[in-house]
Amino acid sequence: MIPVCRLADLPAGESVRLDTTPPVAVFNADGELFAVDDTCSHQDASLSEGWLEGCLVECPLHAASFDLRTGRPTCLPARKPVRTHEVHVADGMIHVRLAADVAATGEGSAA
C-alpha cells in the first residue's frame, strides 16, 4: 500500500499524482476516490491534470476521456484503457494498492 495524502488534503474535484513507476493519479470525484494510471493511453499526458467531471476525466492534451471506475476510454483518441488501482482510507489517510500486474515493479520503486 502506498500512502497518498490526507483525505482532508484532497477535496472533491481535486487530484494528485504519485511518482510511482508508472505514475498513478488519485482523484476525488464528488467524494468518491479513484486511482488510475496517470499517463493517458493515447499520448504522454498526465491525467491528474485533466478535467474531472463526475466519474470521467478528460486528458488535458487531446481531450480523450476515461471512466475512472473502469479505466476505459469513453471517446477517441484514446483506444486502450488505463489501469485502475484500489484506494483505501484509514485514519484519515488515503492509500493506494497498485494493480497486481504492476505491483512487483510499481510498489518496489515507489518514490
Partner: protein
Amino acid sequence: MRAVTVVGASLAGLYAARELRAQGFAGRLTVVGAEPHQPYDRPPLSKDFLTGAGDEDRAAQVDRIALTDPEELAELRAEWILGARARALDVRDRTVVLDDGRTLASDGVVVATGASARRLPGPPLAGVHTLRDLDDARALRAELTRGPRRVVVIGGGFIGAETASSCVALGHDVTVVEAAPLPLAAQLGTELALVCAGLHERGGARLLTGVGVARLRGGGVAAGAGAGAGAGAGAGGADWGRAGAEALPAVRSVEFADGRSLAADVVVVGIGATPNTGWLAGSSLAVADGVLCDDGCATALPQVVAVGDVARVGGVRAEHWTSATEQPRVAVRNLLAGRTVEAARPLPYFWSDQYGSRIQFAGRREDGDTVRILEGSPEVLDEGGFLAVYEREGRTTAAFAVGRARPFMKVRRELAAQESRAKETVV
C-alpha cells in the same frame, strides 16, 4: 451513396473513415495512402520517437504511434490501398486514379492528402533532413544515434523547436536558425513568442534570428556511407535526406545571406509545409494553398469534401492535429447529406513539448490583443510555468500556457463554449 474513397491514410483520413461508418455509411469504403504504413500519429515523431531507444525494432516503433488496431480495422470494413499515390481525380465520373493506373469509382470522395515538408532549393546533400513522416523520422534518428554532431535546425517553428529540443536531449550541439526577427511571433504575438524563444537558450541550444539561409554547402562523402560510394557530384533525382543518399556529398555548412556561415554535420529543414494538391490539377476543384472549401469542408462539388492539412476551410488552412480530428465529423455529415448542413470551425488549438516544457495555445488571437498573465510567471518557468490569456475589448480571445495544463484546459473550454454560443447567435 454506395462507394466512398478517402484519399489519404493519416490522421484526418482515418477519422473520416471512422465518421463514415459511425454516421451510417454502409457502402464500399476505400482508403488510399501514399505511405506503406497504417495510420499513425505524427506529433511524437519530433519528440519521443527521435529520442527513444535506438534498438527498438521497426514494428515496435510503428506500433507505439499507431492510431488504430486490428480490431478497429476489422470494424471499419474498409479496403486499404497503401503505398499508392492518387494521381488524378476525374470529377465527371468521380473516379480516383492511382499512380499505378488503377481507378477507383466513387460516389463520394474525401480529400485528406495532407501536406509535404518544404525543402530548400539546391542539389541534394547527405545529412540534410526534413521531418514530416515516419520515414523522415527514422532517417534522422539513424543519423542522430551515430554520435555527437553539430546540428543546425533551419526554422524556429514548433517542428524546428521540438527537433532542436530532442537533439539537445541526445547530446548534440544544436543551433536553431530563424529568418524572422523572432520565431512564432505570427502565431503567439511578440510577448509570448519571446518566452518561447527563451526556451532554446535555457534548454541548451543556440538561437540565431533574422538570418536568411543562402545555401547549404557540401563536400566529401557522408560519414558512414557504404564502401565504394562515389563522390556523387551532380547526383540528381534523389530525394533530399532520404535513404539512398550514400553516394551524395555530405553537408558541411550552412551559408547565410549576410555572408556568414555555420559548420554543420546534420541539417534539419523545418520551414513549413505545402498542401498536397498536385494530383487535383485538371480536376476543376479550386486550389489555392489548399483545397478551397466552404465552412463545412465541402468543395464546389457536393460529392467531394476535404479535411486536414490539405483543406482550406472557410478561408483558413489549419495544420493542427485537432482540426484534422474535428473536421471529418462535419465533412462526412455534409458529404452524406449532399450539401452543407453544418459548419466546421473548431477552436484553434495546438501544443508543443520543448526542453521539458509543455506549451499549449488555444483561441483566435489577433495582432493588438493584450496579454495578461493569470497564473505563475514567464520569468520563473521552473516554478510551475504560467498561464496567460489574450484579451481584446475586455474579452478573452485566446489562451497560452507553459506547464499549466489544468487551468489552461479550463480557459480552453470556456473559449470553446463562448464560441459555440456566438455561433448559435449567428445562426
